[in-house]
Structure formats: C-alpha cells, structure tokens
C-alpha cells in the first residue's frame, strides 16, 4: 500500500515548502505580459490584462455564477462521497481480510487506469450532467482508501494493548487512539485528492460537455478559439480549487485540534 504520509507531522511538511510569494507571481505575470506583447496575437497568447478584463466581464453575468455552482456542487459531491466510501472501505478492509483481498485489485486498477478512459467509459453509463460526480468519486476513493488503511494499520499496538488492559470502550479506542493516528494520513489524502478531483472533474466536463458547466465554457472557448475566455475560466478553476482546499484543510485542522485538546 502506498501512503502519502507516515508521521504525525505530515501537515507541516506539506505546507511549509509550497508557499506562494507575491514577487514570484508578479514576475511570472510580467513575463506573460511581455511574451504576449512580443507575439502580438491574442489568439495564440492573450495578455494577462485582457484576461483580467474578461474575468470582470464574466463575473457580472449570472451564467458565470451558475456554472461555478453547477461544477462545484457536483465535484464536491463526488469528493465527499469518495471520502466517506474510501474511509468506510478502509475500516472494513482492516477488519476483514477478505474485503481487503477483494478490493486490492480494484483499487490498484482504479489508480492505474487513465482518467480519460474512465470518463469515456462512464459517459456510456451515466448522463453527462452527473459525470463529474462519478469521476471525482473515482479519483478520490483510492487515495482516501489507501491512506486511511495505512493510518489504521500503523496504529500504535502498545496503545491498543493499554486500551485492552484498561478495558476501554470501543468508542474511546476509536476516539482517542485510532482517530489520532489516522487523522494525519486522512488530512494528507484529502489535500492530495482535492487537487486531483478538481482536475479530473473539469476534464470530465470538457469531454462530456454538460450544459452550464465550467467544462462546457472551456470547451466553447476551445471551439471559438477564445483564448481570453479559456484563461479567465482557468483562473476561476484555480481560485475555486484553492478556496475549496483551504476550506477543507481548515475544517480538518479544527477537527484535529478539537480531538486532540480534550481535557
């Protein structure tokens, strides 16, 4: 089993090296502006100023907000379903060996099959409207499953023996021993899968073209070679993705704090 974390300090090591510095952002924007002016063809490379102008035009339309709501609600649904199912299956796999054996090939296959294959296959089964729910779910499930399983498997055996000697209730064991061990793995898995499910969810929408989705807007931008639209929507996707990830990570940090500071 591959896990994305193996210690309690996983949060710290994920956050520290990847801080965005304003000077770096401005430098890249300047390079982008210079490059677009040098090329001189907005269809090939639109300038950042034009993209921001287009973004402000889009913000004022109701369809912009509807598209965001459409895609966000579906991708978030897929994400939460994947988190719940992945966690539940991990617990069951740890508890029952035959469930682990049964799921292992499925999880490994899910991890290796390209997203595009999944999207085309799933399009045959479900309507394009709900495609991104299923694709996000498929992306999140194996990551959460593998990490939560690793977290449970790495639970301190000595603490479990202590719990056995003191006849701690199952609730106390889960609450104070298992959760404490699993949460760093869970946090790391959520952070990793959030980024993936956004990318895959939007890719699914671009292929499935459900009406009023962000994917449809990107597809239209491609058809009409509207580079400003393409960049504007890409910025929107990045902002929502960061916002969603920050929201989930803040909620998880609050949960961890609450769980670990009981006195």
């Amino acid at each position: 089993m591959i896990s994305t974390t193996n210690n309690n300090q996983s949060n710290q090591h994920l956050n520290i090296p990847f801080q965005i510095k304003p000077w770096a952002v401005f430098l890249w924007l300047a390079i982008w502006q210079i490059a677009s002016q040098w090329i001189g063809e907005p269809i090939l490379l639109v300038s950042p100023i034009m993209v921001i102008k287009r973004l402000f035009e889009l913000i004022l339309t109701s369809s912009f907000w509807y598209s965001i709501l459409f895609s966000l609600s579906r991708i978030a649904t897929g994400f939460f379903c994947g988190v719940l199912t992945g966690s539940l299956l991990a617990v069951l796999s740890y508890r029952y060996k035959y469930i682990l054996e049964l799921l292992t090939p499925l999880i490994l296959i899910t991890k290796t099959i390209p997203v595009a294959s999944f999207i085309i296959l799933v399009l045959i089964w479900v309507s394009s409207k709900n495609l991104s729910i299923l694709i996000s779910f498929i992306m999140v499930l194996p990551i959460i499953y593998t990490n939560v399983f690793s977290g449970i498997a790495s639970t301190d055996k000595e603490l479990l023996e202590m719990a056995q000697v003191f006849s701690l209730s199952s609730w106390k064991k889960i609450r104070y021993i298992y959760l404490s061990q699993i949460l760093p793995f869970f946090q790391s898995a959520c952070s990793l899968s959030l980024g993936l499910c956004w990318k895959a969810g939007i890719a699914a929408e671009v292929i499935g073209i459900p009406a009023d989705s962000i994917g449809e807007k990107l597809y239209n931008a491609k058809i009409y070679i509207d580079t400003a639209d393409l960049f504007a929507w890409t910025i929107v996707i990045i902002i929502i993705s960061i916002f969603f990830e920050k929201l989930i990570s803040t909620l998880l940090n609050l949960l961890v704090e609450r769980l670990e500071r009981i006195s």
């Binding site: 309690n8 000595e158 603490l159 023996e161 202590m162 056995q164 000697v165 003191f166 006849s167 701690l168 106390k172 104070y176 021993i177 404490s180 670990e260 500071r261 009981i262 006195s263």
Partner: protein, 192 residues
Amino acid sequence: MERSLYIEHLYKSYHNQPVLTDLCCQIPQGKVTAITAPSGSGKTTLIRILLGLEEPDYGVLNGFKNLKKSAVFQEDRLCENLTALANIRLTSISQNKSYLISAMEQIGLYDCWQKPVHELSGGMKRRIAILRALLADYDLLILDEPFKGLDPATKEIVIKDTKKRSMGKTILFVTHDELELSLMNPSQILTL
C-alpha cells in the same frame, strides 16, 4: 483465611526458546508482591500473560479471570497528542477535573494538565502513566518497573502516593531497584 491468586505450572516459549518453565507461585490478595529477577528471565512475559495480552503454552492462572486490571507498563503508553489530564481521564473512575488536577499536583505535576503529553519531559510522562493506573478502577495493579527514570526525591514522593492510593489492593510489582523495594515494602518477594 487469606485469599490468594495462584499461578500454576506456567510454561511459555518463543520459537522453541523456553522463557517460563513450570512457574508456580501464590500472590496474596490485598498485598504487595514484588518480582525481582535478572533481565531476560521472563518477567515481562509473565506480566503480559497476567494482563491477558498473551496466552501461556501451558499452565493455569487461578483467580485472575474476573479481576479488573490496571497497569504501568515499562513504556509510558500515553496518547501523545492528548493532554496530560485527558490521558488520566481516559481510565479514571473520577472525571472530576479539580480532583484529578489535585492528584497530579500531589506527585509534583504542576501546571501541566492542559499540555499535550508530547510537550512533557520523560519524568512527567512516567508520573502521568503511574497516576493513570492508580486512578483507574482495578482489583489487580501490575507495575512493570514503574519508577524507572525518576530521580530519587521524586521517586520517594511517587512511591508514597502509590502506596496511599493502592492501599488494600493487590499489587504485583517488578523492580531491580533496592530503594524501590524498601519503599514499597512488599509482603513477599518472588525471584524468577
């Protein structure tokens, strides 16, 4: 007549290496029994069997089955991310915060109840592990080198507190230390 717990003809081996061979002994209830033996003589194995963490190969444990047990292990075995108080509360009969804080203060644990255990020193962790065992609901208290790592002055305070809190309970106490032996004043000493 004094009631006792009996260990009869206990055998345990790992990978065909015998660790306990035909061990027989009697542990008087309500008293302190000390176990002393050189390293590798099977003390920890015996304790694990008595705590129900391992099964003996052969032998009978008489009177142990329905006993509520509490223990101080060789390791602290504390939930590192929980506060000192939360660790004690986990097993304690009393959930009264001020009572538990006062119990901590009696063994020199001042102003640390709200700190996560991973922020505390080794000696403080040891005392929390001891207090956790003492405040639990138990009939048999098993102490596996519980005072190891404490300085002599703290050791004396903690042993006095241990004796006070466990008065009238059955205690099985493993040690190599002469000072600990004299302070705990066991009713019998078993040598493996």
